[in-house]
Symmetry: C5
Subunit: 356 residues, 5 copies
């Protein structure tokens, strides 16, 4: 999975604006989902043909949300780029799914690239997907790899006729809502990571094993992936809050500030995790050394007790003809007593040293 993150498929020497899809999804047809709405109306078309889905002329005071799932159809992408007058670099960035999260201002639109963290409950892993947003005066374009369900809630809310902010306010508020949904998902992944930390923690305190070490290592790698996705978000969304652009109303700016706070909070949590894993690593290493001390103590105690006794026994096992002790009637019991005293003395010595 890791090697995905550092591949860059663009051919050197190609003109920079050449749209080349860099992801590894099989080429399924892209799905286009066009929503047009304002305070009074709501209309949605889904299909694979842009011309059919997107009406040629859209009335004033109507907001359009074009959502593209699947980025491999370069003809479609070019058509959209032409329709909305996107810069060649924007098109390239949308199709290169290894972008760093960022916000870029163009003459007639804002280009926003984010990372979606998708938690897979089954396998207890997460995957990183790219979401690109183009925010214009009265439209929002969203581009993602494959179909993902995290904006379903927002779509439902758009459909509802109840008096509500989402329909009243413009495209910038819709863009905010999409970003907010992405950032909210981060906390699900962070919570899962937090649960993992606690699980490792308990196991390390109970009994440190090589397995724990490998788990910690895998965990650290996952954190690096999350970090790489979330850290640049701070800068990107901070830029969005302070960008002097008419596209962002003051009304929405207050909400974006809130998303910014959430991003900072996610980074805080991640850094806390980092510190905790660092501490755990120290604890693990000291446990290993402690354990070795235990092992060595056992060996030393056994050796220290039995070696002197064996030596004494070996001495009286020698075959010298003139060994007067051997003939004493009490020789054997006395030697046994001496051996016992040595054993007891050693044990006492170890007790004073608090080894046993």
């Amino acid at each position: 999975m890791f090697s995905d993150t550092h591949k860059q498929n663009k051919k050197v020497g190609e003109p920079p604006g050449t749209p080349t899809y860099t992801g590894n999804k099989p080429a399924a047809p892209s799905i286009i989902d066009v929503v047009t709405y304002n305070q009074h109306d709501y209309h949605e078309t889904t299909g694979t043909d842009l011309d059919k889905c997107l009406p040629e002329k859209i009335e004033k005071n109507v907001y359009t949300w074009v959502s593209i799932h699947g980025l491999n159809d370069s003809n479609l992408m070019s058509a959209i780029a032409k329709r909305y007058d996107l810069h060649p670099l924007t098109l390239e960035d949308i199709m290169n799914v290894e972008q760093r999260p960022k916000v870029e201002e163009f003459d007639n639109y804002l280009f926003i690239t984010l990372k979606i963290l998708l938690w897979k409950t089954k396998s207890s892993t997460f995957s990183v997907k790219q979401l690109s947003l183009v925010l214009g005066h009265d439209f929002v374009l969203s581009f993602q790899e494959g179909e993902t369900p995290h904006f379903d809630g927002i779509k439902k809310r758009l459909q509802s006729t109840a008096n509500q902010r989402l329909r009243q306010h413009g495209s910038d508020y819709l863009a905010y809502r999409l970003i907010d949904a992405v950032v909210d998902k981060y906390f699900i992944v962070l919570e899962a990571l937090g649960d993992d930390i606690e699980a490792i923690e308990e196991r390390i305190i109970a009994a440190p094993t090589t397995q724990n070490m490998h788990t910690m290592y895998r965990f650290k790698r996952q954190m690096l992936l999350v970090r790489k996705a979330i850290w640049p978000m701070r800068e990107a969304i901070g830029h969005l809050v302070h960008v002097e652009d008419k596209l962002i109303t003051n009304f929405t700016r207050v909400y974006l500030r809130d998303v910014y706070d959430h991003t900072v909070q996610a980074i805080d949590t991640l850094e806390t995790f980092r510190d905790m894993v660092g501490s755990m690593m120290d604890m693990y290493l000291s446990s290993l050394t402690n354990r070795m001390n235990e092992i060595m103590k056992t060996l030393t105690i056994i050796a220290t007790i039995f070696m002197p006794i064996t030596t004494i026994a070996s001495i009286y096992g020698m075959n010298f003809i003139y060994m007067p002790e051997l003939k004493y009637h009490w020789g054997y019991p006395i030697v046994l007593c001496v051996m016992l005293s040595i054993a007891i003395g050693m044990l006492y010595y170890f007790r004073t040293k608090k080894w046993i």
Copy 2:
């Protein structure tokens, strides 16, 4: 306890301003405490019904302090939000008790979120509670989970008729006093942590055990929690000091600068603790290695003394028919002397090496 800090209960797709309580207190009725005062008058009402507690019209030149204990009653919260014209995000932030400390400016009020560190002497632990303040022209709203006694002193002082700043100056000075009380509490927790450090320190110097390691680890985790609560305070209060808002008078600004200094001092102390625990960890690890050296030395000394003697004894324990030494009359004493010399020689060698 830890998992509390990274949970985020908001449903993805919900409109952002939906007030949802994220704490884990059981749903007891919220208590409303309304204090109206100025230089001459003081009036206080406590209850659970907003309409009864808060008079519909408040005279000019009278300051109101509405203090809410318990955040789970969303109807009450909405009523207050409507009364004081709070932004939907403010309401959401008040009820989401996992906020990062921050200060936000709105058109007609300042919103301040802080963390209260409550030290529990009985269990020698602390808990983290959220305090939200809304500072308006002539009112202060304070929101907290459950009932907490740390503002009792301020209330008493408000009641007193003696000539004093608290009654003379406006709502911004009251807000300052509340923040100051929160920050002062930090030093109680820091002092307790400092005592803990000294206790661990003495034990590690005396004799390092696995238990010390676990204690240090728990300690580090506690420090991370404190850190997460205090660090953002620096930025938040710094923002409050420099905010260009008519709500904060120059008179109060001087006092806020003082609270800012206290926050920085708390962070300094925390960082010093961090460094100390790092050094202790080094000391602990080197103690473990030292200890292993001691153990290994014991084993080596014993083995080195007794192994050669046993070998000699074994040799003379062989049953060869032609072993001339066995027949010498002085064979046995000579061998004993040789053994003794080996033992003494080894001990002397170890002494020159300073092992014993």
Copy 3:
């Protein structure tokens, strides 16, 4: 290879603008490659004589790209410097191939120094070469050591008559394309490093050896070299994006911002690698300690089982005349049983301790 990076051959006391070549290529004649082009025309001359290659007068609206391969011919360099009115320091910086990447503004041109990372597939290593660019109103000068093929793609594109940006836009766009080609190459090296990391990783998890450690060390050194080349690029290209100079059009500035993003992404990846290698080092060290624990456990188990048995056997090997047990008929079997019990008891003890 390393010692190359810190040598500085300039003689102390020499006037600073003295052009001295500091690389270690043998003195082959420098190759000059002059391309003149505009939207309609394209002309290329290659040779070793500047006067023959570079026409004395170039028409208006024609862009010139002078590409020098080989920097050891100081006469040639001086001639070019004179022709394009280069500052003495620029000339010195071009010939000193140990420059730190940077961008410098002069009155009539921008001077840009970059590092090219060349991956050699055969030896699985990379080398660092310097590229210096001088960007004037209607010319680009590029200087490199030896002949390198990484701009062939750009040249081909320049030759093509198809309607395209490269021919339409001025010298600043050409300079951008050259820089972009250099930065794109970084990802090839980073990808190779990433593959290396995964290879080491698998080997360390399987079985840690001293060899792994040396590999990791070599890897870290390589990363330091890459780091030294890429880090200053961020600052340099960032400077280029924000430089207030008429030489950079707004059209090109958008593209430079894109290169800047790529550089930041390369740095991000490098820092992630750094963290990963740090974690691997921890894992390696803990593996070593774990291994020692394994070894010590084996030794301790063996010693603890056989030492007491040997001691008992030695005791009954003593030659005392009065050892009543020796005469019992069941003495031998009983002693054997005792020995067996000790062995079994010890094994059981180790099992309860989870050592076996």
Copy 4:
């Protein structure tokens, strides 16, 4: 000593400006030392009664230096505060001797809090005292705990009638001289710490012991205390240099810049010490491991030489009736030779491995 640094005695709920002395000196009467001087005159009064010491009216063009030793007399402090119109927070900060070094601007004065490091040659330790300065248009107030001799030199110089800057220039120059004296003292403590480092260093290189480790730990703690005192000084004095206040003349500003440089130099030295102690710790730990290697090698050599010999001897000590070797006449010498060969072979093997 450590616990002193994090205690904060202020009662929560007390009004912030309540002057409460937080130090632990016994309550001796405060000593007031009033110096009035200008270019021509010098007058000094010392006592414990403010009214007697400080004349009610001071002529124009006369500078006053009021020096208070002992901060526990809150009546006196209030009297001074009233006389010089000090802000309640200033008074509180003066009496709270756990302040972080800082500079605060008030309408009519500058408030400066510093830490004095007092080196005690006898006990080879230092203590941290607080110095508060209030710099007004024509007065300097200095507040310290207990009597300290470090300003005696400045007082002597003030008394001298010789033509000199101290009498010619105003109160800001006097304040500078007081600060300069404090910062100069830091180098005495740093020098003592430097000598300590060298002493530990030599001992660790000679022979690492647990005692060294404890010394290093104590040393690190001392450095943390110094660090906590000096680091904020940089910011504080830097603020003083750049403060736009008429109280600081350009003449004095040049001198303050010099004190700032000294502070930075002190911090540099401290950071260098920090790095050195870190390296020493590494060296100590590697020494421990090296030592263990030595111990293990000794054990292994002994065991490897004597174990095989003992085994052979044991074999020929068996009591089998049919052991033909036992009857060979040369059996015993041959076995001895074999044993000797094994011993020599092992020693040779260890020599090839460079263990001996």
Copy 5:
């Protein structure tokens, strides 16, 4: 050598401008070297008497370079200070040779303090000397301890009548050339340090010894000294580049920017060294642990093979009367076979574990 760097000989209480020499050179007479030059003329006088060397009146359009070697003659220093109207602090800073590199602006001159790193090829060490420069409108004063040859090249060039920048441009260009010569010297020291690193590196990879550790430690200390000298240079020269002062012409500013780049490059190299030594330390420590593993493996293999055999032999060495095996004719060969099988089995087991 180290203790030199933190001594501060100034007496506390002394007026700050008192010039006191803090170096430890023996008091030899200071040598004064006065060079007056312009585009047409060059004149040089060397001596120990200021009045003789420095003409009372210097014509317009003539630049003066006064170079003082030896700083212990305070009368001379005062005379120079008086002649060129130097600030008392400047004089103090010149004579205090423990200054941190810095640039200070005064009304009529710029004061620059640098560190010269002098490499001594014989002893393979370097020493740190201080160079102070005073740059006025038409003069440069340079102050150094003892006589040092590193400006000889510049002097020679000044003497030469050939058309050249050094004579054409003013005193600021001369100051630049002096600084450039100092910074160039850094690379000689860095190169020597780099060679040291490679030497240690090879030795550690070959065989880690305690000696390597001590070498690494000494090396780290040297790097700290270099670091302390070079790091502040970045800030100082950066300040010089951006200082808004008429003394620095735009012509020279371009050159100073070049020196700044060199300083940054030196710092980069130093930081790379730092990282390399850190990695080496890791490699050294892991080598030690690896080595211990080797030792322990040897011991364990020997013990595991011989202990069981010895135990069996001991059993058949017991003197029980009824031990039926002893009487079997094949008993002895069978036991020998069993022993051999055990040995072979153990060896096989260790081979499967890849220990041998």
